[in-house]
Symmetry: C2
Subunit: 218 residues, 2 copies
């Protein structure tokens, strides 16, 4: 698994990058790593992180017993960070997961890895529950939300195929691994994510994560 | 303003429809109505509600001092409920708001009514913060989230134009008022909503609303 922890700490109006913000006394990334380790005790993991924060993480890794996982310095874009993290893995099926998604369920992890093992890849999604409008030029129009899914992580792949896909040049629309894999000619397999598996990016998300993690700790 | 309170109480696994669930000791719909009354003390409102729940509401209306607002029995679809609620209004500019959106800000309400007064309509939206995929036939593909917006309420309109739009026959893709108004040939004006203005539909949403309403009571 590659854990993407690229946050540098601007959006939340806090000096600390999001992945290090404490929720119930424990940094978000620690919640996330514990959850993944609960899924599979000896899973292979690399953590991609901005170089400025690696020393900070090394302290935490000692404190929370995550020294076993290699840390790679993140690149200019998420794309380059994932690529660097991938190169250190050797498992046949690998996942890429956001450090700020501590609420991924064991069932979602299992579904993603199982499906990717058999079908080549798996991307967890949940339904869109609000009305959507699409902007085009100066206009906008209603869109049928049933035709859309919200994408989560972990996104799982056969490692060799994903590494091959990452040989393409970086393009701005590569916002996740599915978009990279798709641009390399593969069809994406969707599986059910879990609704609580939110990406913690706003103060509102933090508040929700705090409560969900109290009910269901990593 | 038409308040749409059509919930009959299945999705949340509670007998009580969502709009009546207590948050910090007060039914959701009461939070919502208080917020709107704080925006404008003598705003005209009608409440569209399933006939089975009108007696229940009448008790609450007495308790919380909302007897002044007319209640109309909701129809088979949201479309028919809004139509019935609209017919009792006389203001030049009217809004339609979900009873389960207690966190609409005064600023959002102001923006919607002001813009609709000048431009004929206004629909509050917020950006999509997660990756989207679009399903087509057996396939799916990445979509640029920048091209999409999530739609909220209140959706505001010149009353006569909206009433005219509601003369169309009901169609299944009428999921909100903007879609009805658009199908009648109008271009929709988008304005900024506020991110906390969530539609409370899941236990997760309830938890979040509880905390946001503690910080910022109606």
């Amino acid at each position: 698994m590659v854990i993407v922890a690229g946050g540098r700490g601007s959006r939340m109006k806090s000096q600390l990058p999001k992945q290090f913000i404490e929720v119930n006394g424990i940094p978000l990334i620690v919640h996330t790593l514990r959850r993944i380790r609960r899924f599979h005790g000896d899973i292979e993991m690399t953590i991609a992180m901005h170089p400025d924060w690696i020393a900070y993480w090394n302290e935490l890794a000692m404190q929370y017993d995550f020294q076993a996982y290699a840390v790679v310095p993140g690149g200019a874009e998420r794309f380059h960070s994932v690529q660097a993290g991938l190169e250190l893995l050797s498992a046949e099926v690998v996942g890429v997961h956001d450090a700020v998604r501590p609420l991924v369920s064991i069932e979602t992890l299992q579904r993603c890895f199982d499906t990717a093992a058999i079908q080549g890849n798996a991307v967890p999604v949940v339904p869109v529950t609000e009305s959507l409008r699409r902007i085009e030029g100066g206009f906008n129009r209603a869109e049928a939300r049933d035709a859309y899914r919200i994408v989560q992580t972990p996104q799982c792949f056969h490692r060799r195929d994903l590494l091959d896909a990452y040989q393409q040049g970086y393009k701005p629309f590569f916002t996740d691994d599915a978009s990279v894999f798709e641009a390399a000619g593969h069809a994406i397999r969707l599986v059910d994510g879990n609704p609580e598996n939110i990406k913690v990016t706003s103060p509102q998300d933090l508040m929700l994560a705090e409560h969900l993690l109290k009910e269901n700790p990593a």
